[in-house]
Amino acid sequence: MSHWNPAPFAQQLLDLFASLLLLIAFAMLSQRRILTLIHLFAWQGLILTLSIVDSAWLTHQPHLYYSAGLTLLTKVLILPLLLHRLIRRLDVVWDVETLINIPTTMLVGIGLVIFSFNLALPISHFSSTILRNTLGIALASVLLSFMMMITRRKAVPQVIGFLALENGLFLAATSATYGMPMVVELGVALDVLVGMFIFGIFFFQIRETFDSLDIRHMEKLKEE
């Protein structure tokens, strides 16, 4: 830990990235258009990558660079592209209907942010890493993405919510703990990719079967 000079700047930058991620999470929560959602998701990935690079540089953890590369590859390039192509092929560039109206969602979201900051506060005290402040933000963006999954009616936004949730997790992984061991990280990346692949299969199957990607069609299995 001899490079102390640029550290404060890098630290502030990291906080900034984290805040940006949170902002994007809010934006996604309030976004109605599906295409914008995908763009926002790509942006989120990009900022995540930047923040990982930043923390890698800050902490001299070489494997974090690999992580950053992986993130860039999957979250910024492959997945948005895949999603893009998917919605074009499925012709589903519609507006997103939400179950709860957006102002209410935002209000609840703010509540969630406060809650998760409060939750993370004592943890940060124990942290030995310099990246501790971001844990609260990561938790908040996880919860916000979770919220988004709950409020969306269509399959694609739900999946985007799911992916955004994983972004939040990545943020937590890289910022709070310098990343997981490499084996784990590779495994996680593989799972995400396979998951996405399966999502793709599902979209087609759902579309084929129900003529729509509206998950309201999929409320048949229940206790009557």
Binding site: L119, F146, M149, I150, T151, E219, K222, E223
Partner: protein
């Protein structure tokens, strides 16, 4: 190596199990003439082993199987020995009968017969295991094994919807009872270490509150098996549904297992009883008896009538048990011993006469394939053996001297009448009511039995009797004869029986009747003192014989013996048919009328102008609607409410997950030090 009774019992139980397994693999043709006689033989042996063990002290054995740290404990003491004797004695008659009864089944449905042999033998063996089990786990295994094997036996004819329902209800109630028992044993053990052996439970005492809770649980658990009000609903459905020898086993023997369980828990494991337990049992038992006999009197299904009568008898037995508890709690051991002897005696008697009657009903069923009494009649002329032997059964059940039913009811009445000096003055006043109920129940049982016998065996055949009705064969005769002989002997030699019961009453309440009851020789029963009460059935029987004989001889001597046959007098109405006799419904009609508010009665009475008059009346158990339906509806309502959790929308599911997470997180932050 010396053979101990317990070893013998263990061998017999294994033998039964082995025969059952053999029955599954042996061809039915071979099994039918081999297995049931062997089972019968083992039953006789079991009776011998029981009698042998009745003389001595307790023996224990630990088997190397079971749960780790909880091996199966076996113990044979006098209480078990008594019930093993009962099992063996009644079981041998029933099994002998079964040899003949299932013969036809072995020929036509070989697979069913093989399965039945297995279950029958397992049923016997599991009852034996209940009696020798000496730890809670083994007891529960045996207890539920008994329920399970009898459930499969009950559902032998599962093509009939009513039988399926009866089987379901039966197993459900049995299982609910078992759950109560599990709780009961858990409470008995609570805090005594990890061991569930009865030896541990025995030395562990509970506070009066917890022992009362335990008592309640035992009452529910065993009461559900015994058909105690209001847990009786399954009994009149399930017992008749089984093949008749199995009904006989269930009513005659299995119900006594409930009595055994209660005795075991109340007198052996639980410690000093509280007085109001006894009061509760007397009340519930008397109510059950009354309820059972009333419903028995209005049934028109042969076996259902007998099953309701079993409810009645178990009620009597349990009220006697309540008396025992009352007196035992008050320290009046002599009276307690009297009541207990009455209880045990009646249990034995009931095994015999109810077994006999179910076998008789089975013979009728086999011969006519008809369970509805309204279509039977006049069978005494075509089935003299079955009719004659059944007559002994109904006279015993009706509690008439000199048969066995009378002896135990007499003893029970004596227990009621021996002026008790209980510390609760109001109980002293209320107890005679129990005697009144007992008297009423006895008389109503007479009514039910006259109806049973009169409608089925006497009169003229109503409706069609299909094919040639044949009388019972050798094995059936043997089995029924065995049971009838039991009824007669138990009725004629009460003091010898009481002497045998002595060790049991000594073990449970610390007093015996033997010394006083047989003081005046084996001819006489004098439970307390000759000036209090005495009874000698053998003398009574002899003088009845002499008296009737003298009458007969006198009439023969002084008058001629001419007679001739003629048509029955038709009261001037020449178009009488057999259908104008009282039907079962008609015979029970007065009881229905008198206790109308008691029965959930629904009736259709034809109007005088109806061209096709149709009469229909149905008696339902009002307790069903009162106790069970609300419970079922309550659960259904709860189910409906909970059903809302699963309404198919993924967002809602996610929301559940989300709120659970948030709630737990809030909990963690909230409880953070």
């Amino acid at each position: 190596m010396t053979l101990l009774p317990l070893d013998l019992v263990g061998l017999i139980l294994t033998g039964w199990g082995g025969l059952g397994l053999l029955g599954l693999v042996l061809p039915a043709r071979l099994g039918r003439s081999l297995l049931f006689p062997l089972i019968t033989g083992l039953s006789v042996l079991m009776a011998g082993a029981g009698l042998w063990a009745l003389q001595g002290g307790a023996q224990t054995l630990v088997l190397p199987i079971g749960l780790p740290g909880m091996p199966f404990h076996l113990r044979l003491d006098v209480l078990s020995a008594f019930f093993l004797t009962l099992l063996g004695l009644a079981g041998s008659g029933i099994s002998a009968y079964a040899t003949g009864y299932f013969r036809r089944m072995a020929e036509t449905q070989a697979g069913d017969f093989q399965r039945l042999t297995l279950l029958y033998a397992f049923f016997l063996a599991s009852m034996g295991m209940v009696l020798v089990a000496d730890d809670a786990y083994f007891f529960m295994v045996a207890w539920e094994g008994m329920a399970l094997s009898s459930y499969f036996l009950v559902t032998t004819d599962h093509e009939i919807p009513a039988i399926r329902e009866a089987g379901f209800l039966y197993l459900l109630m049995a299982h609910l009872g078992a759950i109560a028992l599990l709780l009961c044993f858990g409470l008995l053990q609570s805090g005594a270490g990890g061991d569930y052996a009865f030896a541990t439970l025995r030395h562990h005492s509970l506070s009066s509150f917890w022992s009362s809770v335990t008592f309640f649980l035992a009452l529910i658990g065993f009461g559900a098996k015994a058909g105690l009000l209001p847990l009786h609903s399954w009994l009149p459905e399930a017992h008749p549904a089984a093949p008749s020898p199995v009904s006989a086993l269930m009513s005659g023997i299995m119900l006594k297992m409930a009595l055994y369980g209660l005795l075991r828990v109340l007198f052996d494991l639980l410690g000093q009883p509280l007085w109001w337990w006894g009061a509760l049992l007397v009340g519930l038992g008397s109510l059950t008896a009354l309820y059972g006999v009333l419903f028995a009197a209005v049934q028109s299904d042969i076996k259902r009538l007998l099953a309701w009568s079993s409810v009645e008898n178990m009620g009597l037995i349990l009220s006697g048990l309540g008396l025992t508890l009352l007196f035992h709690g008050a320290g009046q051991e002599t009276v307690a011993a009297l009541a207990l002897a009455a209880v045990l005696y009646h249990a034995l008697n009931h095994a015999f006469f109810k077994g006999l009657l179910f076998l008789g009903a089975g013979s009728v069923l086999h011969a006519t394939a008809e369970r509805n009494m309204a279509k039977l009649g006049g069978l005494i002329r075509v089935m003299p053996w079955a009719a004659g032997l059944s007559l002994v059964g109904i006279l015993s059940l009706a509690g008439l001297p000199p048969f066995n039913g009378f002896v135990s009811e007499w003893l029970l009445l004596q227990a009621y009448l021996l002026r008790p000096d209980l510390p609760q003055p109001w109980l002293n006043m209320v107890l005679p009511l129990g005697a009144a109920v007992l008297a009423l129940v006895g008389a109503l049982a007479g009514f039910a039995m006259v109806k049973f016998y009169g409608i089925i065996f006497l009169g003229q055949a109503r409706g069609l009797v299909p094919g040639e009705v044949h009388d019972i064969g050798f094995w059936e005769r043997f089995g029924m004869g065995w049971m009838a002989l039991g009824c007669v002997l138990l009725g004629l030699f009460p003091s010898s029986v009481i002497l045998q019961l002595d060790t049991v009453t000594h073990a449970l309440v610390g007093q015996g009747l033997g010394a006083s009851a047989a003081r005046h020789g084996w001819l006489w029963v004098t439970p307390v003192a000759a000036s209090r009460a005495s009874y000698s059935p053998l003398i009574l029987f002899a003088v009845i014989l002499v008296s009737v004989g003298l009458t007969f001889l006198g009439v023969r001597r002084f008058f001629h013996g001419r007679w001739r046959r003629a048509p029955a007098w038709d009261c001037g109405y020449p178009f009488q048919t057999a259908r104008m006799q009282d039907s079962a419904d008609g015979f029970g009609q007065p009881i229905k009328q008198i206790f109308e508010s008691f029965f959930g009665l629904s009736r259709e009475i034809p109007s005088p102008f109806d061209p096709h008059p149709h009469y229909h009346s149905e008696v339902r158990d009002p307790l069903w609607a009162l106790c069970y339906l609300p419970l079922v509806r309550g659960v259904a309502r709860l189910v409906k409410v909970v059903g809302g959790l699963q309404q198919g929308r993924i967002s809602t599911y996610l929301l559940f997950s989300f709120t659970t997470l948030l709630a737990l997180l809030a909990l963690v932050t909230g409880t953070r030090p």
